[in-house]
Amino acid sequence: MTTATTTPRTADAPTGVTTRSRPAPRHKPRADRVYLWFLLPTLVLFTLSITMPAVMGIFYSFTDSVGFGEFNFVGLNNYLVMFSDPAILSSYGFTIGVALCTVILVNVVALTLAIGLTSKIRAKTALRTIFVMPMVVSGIIIAFVFQFIFANTVPAAAQALQLGVLEESILADPDLAWISIVLVTAWQAVPQAMLIYIAGLMTVPRDVYEASAIDGASAWKQLRSITLPLISGFVLINVIIGFKDFLGTYEIIVGLTDGGPGTSTRSVAMTIFSGFDNGDYAYQMANSTIFFLITLTIALIQLRLTRGNARI
């Protein structure tokens, strides 16, 4: 009701409001408060539910807390132990290796599909709808479905065709189980990368191709010398976003192998989640902190490299 200056609503308080000039400055402070009220609830809730847990986690990483009750400060002890803990080190090795393989697979497949889906083809809308579908289903359920396929269908088919290695479920083989994780993670992650590549390909002017075709450039040459350089910003975004996402993979692993056989497919995220069960809460908080630092570094590299490039 105390709105700016003019209106008939303020008429019942006729204190010369109308006679004064009504420039923007008088209006500003009140508008400001409204803006503040628009922003404040989000900021407060965000601080309580995101920032506070993050700070708490870092704090507890310097203690010997088991998650409840009393605790003592132990300085950097958790961190020092971590770096010589074979279980932690192997989970990092596994996680980074799987993330690297997945990034490569996802980007090759996504770019191929994006190029195909932006060309002059039949049933374009239908095909696009299908290729995006893996993105919209639950990771855990898709992992359960694939678990059945890897454990039952593939071995059965391999036995019928006498394929040797594949006759045993790869989920039960500590040396091969990771392949299933790469495949299913990629299966679900391709659509997002593909959509970004489609957006990228749309920024490439078509006359460049016509010109190069006249010059007699082969298809492969066009891909390498025109398409890839022109969408390099999008490649970078996909590689870095992908790498960050795949480092945090857990649902698909939980659904496929649950970390097994043994601990051969245990990711960092899964190790962190186990922090409550084993009473090494503080220890896993140190692990989380390192994990966060790695993710943050990747994010900063991303910001650095993509500055000035296409914004997503």
């Binding site: 003019t6 539910s49 639950s138 649902e251 962190i272 994990f291």
Partner: protein, 306 residues
């Protein structure tokens, strides 16, 4: 239907791979290679590729409609011979489907509404005060969470929600909203920047308050972006597994994806039942996507090109 790529340069961008694929098959037709021709080779290859997407869904559906005996045979690709819905009724009872479904829907709805409202309001405040340092910093502050993976926060969040009596679906919805805030605020502020401020200013001239101008003028104009934001919030929230499984203390208040775990532990050989249950849990997300895919795709590509 108004997907950008169907009309825009895409056609040219793609001459490349299909040519190489044809060449490798030695079936190249150099003379008839016109850009206005449909590329049948590519179409066929893409359809074959689409099979890798369709097969897991096909397995899910065909397994779900089998009888118990047929399902145990493990012939995933065989059609259900006696067509049976027994798997569904058993799954319905085993998972207490109506209850889990209701909880999932409530969490998802709260997430969608909360995400749209909170981040639209915050984005409006930020974009209209961009010249002020405090608002700009608030923007970067909210954005920073994009780089914060859930596992890093998980244990502390479990502790905190337990302390404040939010170890329940409400707490999950709140956390879902907060994890969506970064991405949504990014999309909304980009959108608001392209929206001329004159519109609200003229409304204000006519006597509307800032809030009034927002709710009556700006918010309705944001509808397309709200749809995109809402769909992503829906999918994220509906499909989430780890957060509810960690946060919700009472098993009878658990969400649909988490409930599916019982088929891995207690009923591991009832394949037809478990696949029927998976199908029922997946269906709403697929349905929402198929209905809204126009906005999902165009919202994403729009956000990327702008």
């Amino acid at each position: 239907m108004t997907l950008p790529t169907t009309t825009i340069p895409g056609g040219a961008a793609s001459t490349t791979p299909r040519r190489s694929s044809e060449d490798s098959r030695g079936a190249a037709l150099p003379t008839s290679r016109r850009s206005d021709r449909h590329r049948w080779g590519t179409t066929v290859l893409l359809i074959l590729g689409a099979l890798t997407v369709i097969l897991p869904f096909y397995v899910t559906i065909s397994m779900a409609f089998k009888t118990g005996e047929q399902a145990v045979e493990g012939e995933a690709f065989a059609l259900p011979a006696p067509f049976s819905v027994e798997g569904f009724s058993t799954a319905w009872a085993l998972t207490d489907f109506p209850r889990a479904f209701t909880i999932s829907i409530l969490i998802t709805l709260a997430t969608v509404i909360g995400t749209i409202l909170l981040s639209a309001m915050a984005s409006y405040a930020i974009s209209r005060n961009w010249e002020k340092k405090a608002y700009r910093w608030a923007f970067y502050y909210l954005l920073a969470a994009m780089f914060l993976p859930f596992p890093v926060l998980a244990l502390s969040q479990v502790k905190l929600t337990g302390m404040v009596e939010l170890a329940n679906p409400l707490g999950v919805a709140l956390l879902h909203i907060m994890f969506q805030i970064s991405f949504s605020t990014l999309l909304f502020t980009a959108f608001l920047r392209s929206l001329p401020a004159e519109l609200e200013e003229s409304a204000r001239m006519d006597g509307a308050s800032t809030a009034g101008a927002f709710w009556r003028i700006v918010f309705p104009l944001m509808a397309p972006m709200s749809a995109t934001v809402g769909i992503f919030a829906f999918l994220k929230s509906w499909n989430d597994f780890m957060m509810p499984s960690l946060i919700i203390a009472d098993p009878s208040l658990q969400t649909l994806p988490v409930i599916q775990e019982i088929f891995q532990t207690q009923f591991s050989n009832n394949y037809h039942v478990s696949f029927a249950s998976y199908l029922m849990a997946m269906a709403p997300a697929i349905l929402a996507y198929v209905i809204s895919q126009r906005w999902v795709l165009s919202g994403l590509t729009q956000g990327a090109v702008k």
